[in-house]
Amino acid sequence: MSEQIDIGVLSESFNEFLSAEWPREKAVAYPRSNAPYAADLWSEISALGWPALSVSEAMGGLGMGTQATAALHEALGYAAAPLPLLGTMLAVALVEAAGSDVQKEVLLSGLADGSTRACVSQPPDTPLNVDGQTLNGTVANVLDAPSASILLLRADRAGHVVWLAIPADAQGVSIERALLADTTRSIGSVTLKNVSLDSVHILVPKNPIALENELLRLAAIALAADALGGGNAVLVATIEYLKVREQFGRVIGSFQALKHRVADHKAALEAARGLVEFAAGMEGGTPHALLAALTAKQHVTRIAAEVARDCIQLHGGVGFTSEYVPHIYLKRAKLNEALFGTRSVLLDRIADMLEAA
C-alpha cells in the first residue's frame, strides 16, 4: 500500500483539510481556549487515519515512512495546528521497535485509530528506576504529556534501558502541565507515586541506543518539517500584509528595504526544504541518516525562527498584537528550536559525526 500513495498527493490532502478546518482565524483565536489540544480536530484527523500513517500495515496502519510523516508535520506546522501527533508518532515507532507481540496488539490499535494519544520522554531526561513492583519518580518536561492517555517513559532496570508504557489514568500518576508560550502544543511533568508495575508495562528494546537514535531521528525530521511549514506560512501571511498596508501613499511592500529581507527569507526557506526532503528520504538506522536528520533539525528550526522573528518586525505595530498571526508562528518556531536538543547540542553531535566520517 505504501508504494501506491504519492507523497505529493498526500501532502496536498493534509494541507487542504487543515486550511479548511484550521484556517488562520482559528489559529489566532485558539490561545484563549487554553486546552492542551484541539479535541474536535483530533477526532476528525483520527477518522481520516492520520495517526495510523506510520503504523505498520501488519498492525492495521498505513505503513508509511518518514517522507509521509514529514509531509504531515509540515502541514501541521503550516496550519499551527494544536494536534499532539509528534508524541503519538514517536510512541508508534517505539512500540513497533521494542514491544512484544502482545504489547503491540494492545497499544498500536488505539494509537492508530486515535483513541489513544501518547507522549514519549525525551533525552536528556533522567531515567526512572525500576527495581520492584511499584514505580516512583518524576519525569520533567514531556512534550504532549497533558494530552496523553498513555505515557512512554525511559527507565533503568538493573543497568539496562527499558521503556515503560503507563496509562495516564493509572493509580498514582499525576501530570502537571506547564503553560507554554506556544499554546498550540503542551508540555507536562509526570510524577509517579507508588504506581504498580506489571510486566505488560515494560518494553525491552534489543538495542536501546539504536532505538534512542531512531526516536531522535524521527523527532528531528518532524520538527524540521514543522518548522519549514511554519516558516512558509508566516512568510506568506507577511507578504499578503506588505501588499495591502499603505504608508507614505504607497504599499509598504514596494520598499526595497523590506522586499530584500522577504527575498532572503524566501530563499532561506527554499534552501531549507532540501535538507528536510533529503533527511526524510533516507532509511533509518545509519549514521548518515541521523546526520541528515540532525542537520535538518538544527538548520531549519533556526531559519524558521529567524523568519518568524523578522515577520513580526515586518508587520510593524500590528505584528505585536495577538490578533495578527505572526506571534503564533514565532512561538511555535522557538519551541521547535528547543525541543529534542538545542542547536548547540545538535551541532556538537554533528561535528562528532563529521569527524568520525
Binding site: I239, L242, K243, R250, V251, G253, S254, F255, Q256, K259, H260, V262, A263, D264, K266, A267, A268, E270, A271, A272, G274, L275, E277, F278, A292, T295, A296, Q298, H299, R343, S344, L347, D348, I350, A351, L354, E355
Partner: protein, 400 residues
C-alpha cells in the same frame, strides 16, 4: 603503464563509467598542478591548461556537456553530472580561461546561432584552442545591464561598433567576444534595441586593458571599441533580440558550471575539517560553526541536485526559480565559509601568495578564496538584483 581508456564506451554502466574515469584521472590528470599553475600566467598558463584540455579531448571529454552534433560526446545528462563529480573528486583542475568558450558560447550558439556560425566557431572550440570572452557590462550598465550604450550602426555589409565594455573575464587573451550592443537607441523599452554579435578580437579598433583586482590577479579587462567593424554575418539571432539571447548565455552559469564549483568546495570543506583535527576542530565554538556551515553547504548542494534532476527529466519544465535561489544562497555561504576560515586559522591566513588558477573558489589559500568569493555575490547579476527578482517577479511585491 599507460593503457587506452574507453570512458565513453562505458555509458550505460555507471559503475564501470566511474571506474574508467577514475583510472584515467589517476594516470592522466595533471600532477602537482597547484604548484605549477600558481607560478605561471598568461601564455605559459594557457599552455598548461591546453595540455590538460588535450588529455581530456583524447578520451572525448574536452566538452563533456556538448551534443554529438557539435563535437561533444552526447552524454546523457546523468553522465555529464558524473563527469563533473569525478573531476571534482579527483581534484582535477578547471579549464580556467576556457570557461566562456565551453559554457557561454555553446549555450548561446546551440540555440540561436546560424548553421554557418556553429560550423565555424564551435569547431574552433572543440578542435582548437579558441578563447572567448563576454562583452556585456559597461561602466554605466552593471546590474542595470539593459542601460548599455555601446552602439552598433549598420553600414552596408557590416556594423560599426563604438563604446566600452568592462568586467570582461579573460578578454586580454581572447580570440572572440560575445558582444551586446545597441542597434536602436529610440525604443520605448531599453531592453529592446539591443543586438548580439560575435566580435573577432583581432579586428582593428579594439583596445583591451586589464583591471587589477583585489586578489592581485587581473582576470578582468576593459574593452574599448573605436569604429570596430563586425560583418553582418556575425549577428546572432535577429537584430534587436539580443536581450533574450543573453538570457540563454547567462542560464549556463546556473547548471553544471555551479555544480562543479560546489562539489569542489564540498571536497575542500571536508579536507579543511580533517586538517583542523588538532587545531580549531578542538575549539567548541569553531567546531559548532563548522557543523552549522555544513548544514548550509548541504542545503546548497541539495538545491543544485534537485535542479539537475529536473533538468535531466525535462529542461523545459525545470523550475525557473530554483537557479535564482541557488545563486542568492551559494554566494553568501561561500563568503561566510571562507571568512570563517580566516577567523579559525588566524594570522597565517593573512600571508599573501599568488592565486592558484584552475581551483575556482577552492584554492585553499584562505585570504584569496575569501576575497574571490565576491565573484558569486556580485558577478552574473548581483545578489541585490537577485533579491529584486525574488521579491518582485516570484513573490509579486510591487516595484518601488
Amino acid at each position: 603503464m599507460s593503457r587506452t581508456y574507453d570512458i565513453l564506451g562505458k555509458v550505460g554502466n555507471e559503475q564501470a563509467f566511474r571506474q574508467e574515469m577514475r583510472d584515467w584521472l589517476a594516470e592522466k590528470a595533471p600532477k602537482n598542478w597547484r604548484q605549477i599553475w600558481q607560478n605561471v600566467r598568461d601564455s605559459a598558463l594557457k599552455a598548461e591548461v591546453v595540455k590538460w584540455l588535450t588529455e581530456r579531448r583524447a578520451v572525448g571529454l574536452g566538452t563533456p556537456h556538448w551534443p554529438k552534433e557539435w563535437g561533444g560526446p552526447g552524454l546523457p545528462f546523468a553522465y555529464q553530472i558524473m563527469v563533473y563529480e569525478e573531476f571534482s573528486r579527483a581534484d582535477a583542475p578547471e579549464l580556467e580561461m576556457f570557461g566562456i568558450s565551453l559554457f557561454h558560447t555553446p549555450a548561446t550558439l546551440f540555440e540561436h546561432g546560424t548553421q554557418a556560425q556553429k560550423d565555424k566557431y564551435l569547431t574552433g572550440i572543440t578542435e582548437g584552442t579558441d578563447i572567448w570572452c563576454q562583452g556585456f557590462s559597461e561602466p554605466g550598465a552593471g546590474s542595470d545591464l539593459a542601460s548599455l550604450r555601446t552602439s552598433a550602426v549598420l553600414q552596408g555589409d557590416h556594423y560599426v561598433i563604438n563604446g566600452q565594455k568592462i568586467w570582461s573575464s579573460g578578454a586580454y587573451h581572447a580570440d572572440y567576444c560575445l558582444l551586446l550592443a545597441r542597434t536602436d537607441a529610440n525604443v520605448a523599452r531599453k531592453h529592446d534595441g539591443i543586438s548580439y554579435f560575435i566580435m573577432d578580437m583581432k579586428t582593428p579598433g579594439i583596445e583591451v586593458r586589464p583591471i587589477n583586482q583585489i586578489t592581485g590577479e587581473a582576470h578582468f579587462a576593459e574593452i574599448f571599441m573605436d569604429d570596430v567593424k563586425i560583418p553582418v554575418a556575425n549577428l546572432i539571432g535577429a537584430e534587436g533580440n539580443g536581450w533574450n539571447i543573453a538570457q540563454s548565455t547567462l542560464s549556463t552559469e546556473r547548471g553544471l558550471l555551479i555544480f562543479g564549483e560546489v562539489e569542489r568546495l564540498a571536497r575542500s570543506f571536508q579536507l579543511d575539517g580533517q586538517d583542523a583535527r588538532d587545531n580549531w576542530m578542538r575549539d567548541v565554538q569553531f567546531r559548532r560553526e563548522y557543523a552549522a556551515l555544513y548544514g548550509e553547504l548541504q542545503s546548497v548542494r541539495l538545491m543544485i541536485k534537485k535542479l539537475l534532476i529536473e533538468l535531466e527529466a525535462n529542461p523545459d519544465k525545470a523550475s525557473p526559480t530554483l537557479p535564482t535561489y541557488i545563486k542568492v544562497t551559494w554566494g553568501p555561504f561561500l563568503q561566510r565559509y571562507t571568512e570563517f576560515l580566516l577567523r579559525a586559522e588566524g594570522l597565517q591566513t593573512q600571508k599573501w601568495q599568488p592565486a592558484i588558477p584552475g581551483t575556482s573558489h577552492s584554492s585553499r589559500l584562505r585570504i584569496n578564496d575569501f576575497l574571490n568569493s565576491y565573484g558569486w555575490t556580485i558577478a552574473g547579476g548581483s545578489n541585490e538584483i537577485m533579491r529584486n527578482i525574488i521579491s518582485e517577479r516570484i513573490l509579486g511585491l510591487p516595484k518601488g
